[in-house]
C-alpha cells in the first residue's frame, strides 16, 4: 500500500508518524486555517502546506493552485461589492468582491494542500466501513498493477478479462497484512510544531485583528 518516500521529511513522517496521527494533525489544522481571515497570513499558511507536501515527496503542481484560486477570484469579481479599486476592460474590480474571492479561493487551495499533506492512503478507518475501504484499496492496488493490460483496440474485452482475473486473484489473497507505523516522540513533536505555528498565527490575528490584509 505504502510507497517508499524519497525525501528526508517524507521518509521521516512515514517512519515516525502513523497515518492516524497525521490525520489528527490535519483535523487540528483545519479550523485554524479556515478561521484565519487575514489573506496574507492565510497565503503564508498555504505556502507552508505546499512546502510540506513538496518536502514529503508529493508532486506539486503550483499552476493548479494558481488556476483554482484565480478562477474563484474572477467569478467573485463578477458581482461588485464595496469601493472600486480599478477598472479592467470595462469590469470594475471592487475591494469587497476581491477580498471575498481571495478568501474563498485561498480556502479552496489551502484545504487541498492541507488535505494532501495530512491524508495518507494507508489511513485505516475503524468499523465496518473502514474494513470495506481497506478491501477496496487492496483491490484498487491490484487493478492499478494490471492497468497496462487494458487494450485500446478492445477496451471492453480487455477490461472485462482484467476484472475477472483481479477479482478471482483478490478473493484468494483476502486479509493481506498491513505494515503498521507507530508514532515516535520526534514525529509527534514535528506535527505539534506545525499545528502550533498555524494556531499561533490565528491567535495573533485575535489579538491584532486583521494585521496585514483582511
Amino acid at each position: 500500500m505504502r510507497k517508499e518516500a524519497t525525501t528526508p521529511l517524507g521518509a521521516f513522517l512515514q517512519n515516525n508518524a502513523s497515518p492516524r496521527v497525521l490525520f489528527l494533525a490535519g483535523a487540528l489544522l483545519f479550523p485554524a486555517f479556515l478561521m484565519q481571515q487575514d489573506i496574507l497570513l492565510r497565503a503564508l499558511e498555504i505556502l507552508l502546506f505546499i512546502c510540506l507536501n513538496a518536502l514529503s515527496g508529493r508532486r506539486i503542481r503550483v499552476l493548479n493552485y494558481v488556476v483554482v484560486t484565480a478562477g474563484i477570484v474572477v467569478f467573485n469579481l463578477v458581482i461588485p461589492t464595496g469601493r472600486v479599486l480599478v477598472t479592467v476592460l470595462g469590469l470594475s474590480i471592487t475591494e469587497g468582491a476581491l477580498k471575498s474571492g481571495l478568501l474563498k479561493g485561498t480556502a479552496m487551495s489551502g484545504l487541498i494542500a492541507l488535505s494532501q499533506f495530512s491524508i495518507r492512503a494507508d489511513l485505516h478507518l475503524p468499523g465496518r466501513i473502514g474494513g470495506l475501504i481497506g478491501r477496496s484499496l487492496f483491490y484498487f492496488e491490484k487493478i492499478m498493477g494490471e492497468r497496462r493490460r487494458i487494450d485500446r483496440r478492445d477496451i471492453i474485452g480487455s477490461i472485462d478479462t482484467l476484472l475477472i482475473e483481479v477479482q478471482a486473484a483478490g478473493a484468494l489473497e483476502a486479509g493481506a497484512g498491513r505494515l503498521r507505523v507507530r508514532s515516535s516522540v520526534a514525529g509527534l513533536a514535528v506535527l505539534l510544531l506545525i499545528v502550533a505555528v498555524n494556531w499561533g498565527a490565528y491567535v495573533f490575528t485575535l489579538i491584532h485583528p486583521k494585521p496585514f490584509w483582511g
Binding site: 488535505s115 474485452g157 472485462d160
Partner: protein
C-alpha cells in the same frame, strides 16, 4: 427488478468493495485529465454504479458510493477540502437520481438516459453548492457550460455502459451468482 440474493453477505461485501475499487481506478484516470475547476469531473468514476444498478439492492449501491467518495478522499488526499464535499454531494445526488429513474422506468429508459439524468442532478447540486461556498452569484455563469459538458460526457458513458453490460462476461457471472 426485485433483487433477491442467494449469495453470502461476505461475498456481497467483497463485491461492493470490488466495485468501489473500480470507481477509485476510474477516479485515478480522471485525475489525470486537466481541469480549471477541481470539482469539474467527466464522471467516469460513476460507471460502476451505472452498470450495477440492476445488480445490487439500494443499500449496497449506496455503500459503493460511500466507498467511492471516501476512497477518492484518501487517494487524492482531499478529505479535508471542499473538493471532498463537492464529490460527496455530487456522487450522492447522481446515485439517488440514477437509482430513482431506473426503479421508476426500468428497462424502458436506457443507461444513457439514466446516466444523463444522474449527471444533471450531480452538476446542479454542485453548482448550488458552489454558489454558496466559493463562487457567489458568479456560479450561475458556469452553469450552462458545466451542464452541457456533463450531458455530453454522460451520454458517452451511457453508451459505453450499455455496450459493456451487453458484452461483459464478468457481469454475467455476477448476475448468475447474486
Amino acid at each position: 427488478m426485485t433483487r433477491k440474493s442467494t449469495s453470502s453477505p461476505t461475498k456481497r461485501a467483497d463485491l461492493v468493495a470490488f466495485l468501489g475499487a473500480i470507481c477509485l481506478f476510474l477516479s485515478a484516470i480522471e485525475y489525470m485529465i486537466p481541469k480549471p475547476i477541481p470539482f469539474l469531473r467527466v464522471g467516469i468514476a460513476n460507471l460502476p454504479i451505472l452498470i450495477s444498478l440492476d445488480l445490487l439492492p439500494i443499500p449496497l449501491l449506496l455503500l459503493v458510493v460511500v466507498l467511492k467518495v471516501i476512497g477518492q478522499g484518501l487517494i487524492g488526499g482531499t478529505l479535508f477540502s471542499y473538493v471532498f464535499l463537492f464529490s460527496a454531494v455530487g456522487s450522492f445526488a447522481s446515485a439517488f437520481a440514477m437509482i430513482l429513474f431506473r426503479r421508476i422506468f426500468g428497462r424502458h429508459m436506457s443507461l444513457v438516459g439514466v446516466g444523463v439524468l444522474g449527471a444533471l442532478f450531480s452538476n446542479m447540486t454542485q453548482i448550488v453548492l458552489a454558489r454558496f461556498l466559493i463562487f457567489g452569484e458568479g456560479a450561475w455563469l458556469i452553469a450552462p457550460p458545466f451542464l452541457a459538458l456533463g450531458t455530453v460526457t454522460a451520454t458517452a458513458l451511457g453508451i459505453f455502459a450499455e455496450r459493456f453490460v451487453a458484452r461483459s462476461r464478468w457481469l454475467a457471472t455476477l448476475r448468475a451468482a447474486l
